[in-house]
Amino acid sequence: MLADFLIDVVRVVFIILLAVQIVAFGGFFERKISALIQDRIGANRASIFGFAGMGLVNTLVADPIKWLLKEDVRITGTDRLLHFWAPVVSLVMALVPFAVVPFGNELVIGDRHINLQAAPLGVGVLYVLAMVSLGVYGIVLGGWASNNRWALLGSVRGSAQMISYEIAMGLALVGAVLVYGTLDLQEMVHAQGQLIGGWLPAWGILYQPLGFILFFVGGVAESKRTPFDLPESESELIAGYFTEYSGAKHFMFFMADFVEVVLVSALVTTLYFGGWQIPYLAPDGFHVPGGGVVAVAPLLVTILGVVAFTLKMLFFTVLQIILRWTLPRFRYDQLMRLGWQGLLPIALANVVVTAGLLLWLGGHA
Amino acid sequence: MVSAEPLLRWIVLLPALGFLWNVTVGQRAPRTSAVVGPGAVGAAFAIAIVTVLRLYGLEGSHAGTPPMLHDFVYRWIEVGPFHADAAFRLDAISAIAVLVVTGIGFLIHVYSVGYMHDDPSFARFFAYLNLFIAAMLVLVLADNLLLLFVGWEGVGLCSYLLIGFWYEAEANAIAGKKAFLVNRVGDASFVLGLFLLVQYTGTLDVAELQAKAGTLAGTMVGPMTLATLICLLLFGGATGKSAQIPLFVWLPDAMAGPTPVSALIHAATMVTAGVYMMTRLHFLFDLAPAALAVIAWIGALTALVAATIAIAQSDIKKVLAYSTVSQLGYMFLGLGVGVTGAALFHVVTHAFFKGLLFLGVGSVIHGMHGEQDLQKMGGLRRHMPGTYWTMLVGTLAISGVPFLSGFYSKDEIIAGAFLGPHPQPLLGVIGYVVAVLTAFYMGRLFFLTFFGEERFDHHHVHPHESPWTMLGPLVVLAVLSALGGALDVAGRVNHFIGAHHEEATPFGMLILAGALAFIGLGAAWYAYVREPSLPEQVATAAGGLYRFLRDKWRVDELYDAIVVRPLFALAEFLARIVDPDFVDGAVNGVAEVVAWLSSRWRRLQTGNLQHAALSFLVGALALLGYFVVH
């Protein structure tokens, strides 16, 4: 009993820490990569024991500490209650979807089989969509509670944007669900462990290339970062819906955004890039396509899976950072047109074509 | 013995199709009507002959029940146990009527081609005539009283249309209207009779009625039996259609129509519909001796009154009109005293000679350029010899000169009054008086027209003989009028209805009847040819009586005073007082009450969504309460 409970706690803590750590590393990478792109050094001041290369530690530790300790400015005319809860909702709703993200295969310790997924849920995909859709409340309430018209404008923009892109995202997911024939993310990852023709890893990207693009674009829009950062576009709305936020609350909002980036990475990895799967690695070791097996210890296989998942997630996080610093911001009408007249029809077509192909070929992957 | 005979429907359909042709194609190509109109009726006549011959062929083969041809077309009305079919029957009675209607009708159609030659509404005229023939055939052939009533009303409609055929003249339109309205009175009575029949027997089918009629004699309604009441009501209908007292006033006015119409409708066929109907229902009337007595009296009185009026008329068609009324009175007298066969026999002979007379008079009028006043004719026998000779036959026939048709039929009726099943000797005497009068006024008409000096204006009127299309029918009818007495109509009918053969008329009565005819004609010859001044003197001497007769017993004035004026006054009253104050008041009152109520109730309609929702809630609570309690 107790062991089960402890295992649950460990699983939850692990995935959250994983996410948050990638957020932290992401913050560092963001600085460094943006500097690289803009041909400057970046984040080079904080040194520990004279070792300037410790910028990593700087962002990992010093930034949060500084941020959390900043004054929480209380503005008159705000709705105190909602002003406080809005960032909390944002952050929580960004974190909870990780519960169904599988970060590894079954871990076998003794006779205990531990599924490396915080909450094995039959309808995982729906759960993710539900939680993501609740994230919008953080933005809406934050802007409204601030009693500031730029903040409110940011909220309205944000809510409209999130609703719009959720649809494209959801429809892209329908394609994936059709292909795998399940809503359970762990089962989807298992399905991607197979090989097509004995040599090509059956990753989702091969079945749903269009779905991947749609989901990725939608996800980036969900995280409200450039080029989709209309809700906070500082050149127009000061800082959008968190104009009136400071200190820890601001940090939560900021972090929620970044967690969403990581979440998108995790989901993309899980849905389209094999999750924790490593090509040719079965539970008993590497199966080289030509024949022959390189035996690997089962525990090691599982750990390798977790590492693979982390690396893949990191890759997509970095990819999003690069995107952010590469692309200019959309205009609002362009944003809406892309969502409703671009992604939505394509997503619908994707669903129809996928369903038609499945019907033709008979059954899912 | 009933045999199916699908040809019967074509007797009715052909004239109906002719009507359709004439109202559609005929309007564009009127000349085709000259062929189609008479052709349709002629074809119907041919089929009628074929079917009647077939009927008579059956007669010999089967003893017992008399034969009958039947044609069921479709079930027309079915309400509960009651039903009425579109079905036709041809038996001894309808066979005679069908032959008369189609035969005489055909002759009159042919005659009309000449008579109406120059009329701008040539096709319309034939359309009406065809429609009339179709309706009359429905009436005659119907196997139930409802279908008979359709024909009954159909001929009434055609009569109205044809009387007012030249509707540009207001008098004609008024005459048509009068005929229509007077007929309505009779029709109402007729319909009441039908209602009672349906009520008490549940059927209008002639055959079924015959089987069930017996029950009607036992039921009393006030002072009379149900049979008597129904018969009187049906007879009421007959008085309208057949122009008997008190509803005969429309017929003389009906002479406003073209003369062939007068001949066809108002002499030969339609006016005998009442007689025909009563013959058809003889079994019913046999049950009601009291009604028969009334009928006999009405018939005799009508004959007498009309004959006296006819003496004093100067319009040649009016004389014939009253003559018709008078002769119809004979027929009802015959029905009333129970000699049904004789009555129908007189229908047939009357159709011959009255048709002949009307067509002859039409020929005279045609030749005189529309002149109708007897006082402005005279000496025409030199100008119109064909017309003269045929008219002579007709006059002798109607007067009852021995061995011509009218002699036989009239004699049988009068003899029946003395010797028939329900004898009324007094009425027989009246019959003889009327016979003298008939001979006299017909002689008067004939002599004033064809003898004496030419009283017309020679500068404007050039009498001429009519074309052959008109003379041909005259000749045919003259032959029929002369020899029609040889037809054994009475015998056939009596055999069919199962009446025992009447005894031969006593020889003395035959002598008397012949003598009376000659007395009447002789008197007329004396007064209008030998001593032309005599009538003037008589008229002056009996001035009051003369004017009374000339003014048609002032019946129109009487009706005007007791019916028309009070009716107008009532209408005036209704229009001035009742309609605006009471009817409108009630209507407006209802509207005001509604308006008042809605001005109160509309406060419920606030337009507020939530008030509407509240009423929702109340309803939901009520329903819910009901379900929870139960």
Partner: protein
């Protein structure tokens, strides 16, 4: 779901519902509604209606109420001084609401309800989908038409000023 947990959730649900009706600010009403709907979704899960539970959140909390909030913000509706209708209407409403709830509760409590054992997969996606695409295919298609009509209607009505 244990009785105690149910009572807690039920109390919170009723609290949320009251917030919808009582709150002066439409935004708080909307938040009360979200709370209620979210908790109803939890109740759905406790009734083995997994699919519906998440659909409830996605459709209601994630879309419909967001739409409400969106409109509220678009119209910039503030807290009102006079939130209630005419007193008579309010009294009738309170009375009617009580009567309705009471009647329904009374009617319901009299009917004993068991919680029978369930077949495997009850409330999951597959059986619901099977019903939708077989027995209820026609209503399902009609619903899709309804949604299409609603989309067009909303776009047309909301697009520009009328008249």
């Amino acid at each position: 779901m244990s009785a105690v947990l149910f009572l807690v959730i039920a109390a919170l649900t009723v609290l949320g519902a009251f917030t919808v009706v009582v709150a002066r600010s439409p935004v708080y009403s909307a938040l009360g509604l979200v709370g209620t709907l979210f908790l109803i979704a939890v109740l759905f899960l406790s009734l083995d209606a997994q699919l519906l539970g998440f659909l409830q959140i996605i459709v209601y909390a994630g879309a419909i109420v967001v739409l409400f909030l969106f409109v509220i913000m678009l119209l910039n509706l503030q807290a009102e001084l006079e939130t209630l209708s005419a007193p008579g209407l309010v009294a009738a409403a309170a009375l009617g609401g009580l009567a309705l709830a009471g009647l329904v509760a009374f009617g319901v409590v009299r009917t004993p309800l068991g919680a029978p054992a369930l077949a495997d997969g009850f409330g999951n996606t597959v059986p619901v989908a099977e019903l939708l695409f077989t027995t209820y295919l026609l209503p399902f298609e009609l619903t899709s038409v309804l949604l299409l009509v609603a989309i067009i209607g909303a776009v047309v009505i909301g697009k520009k000023r009328l008249a």
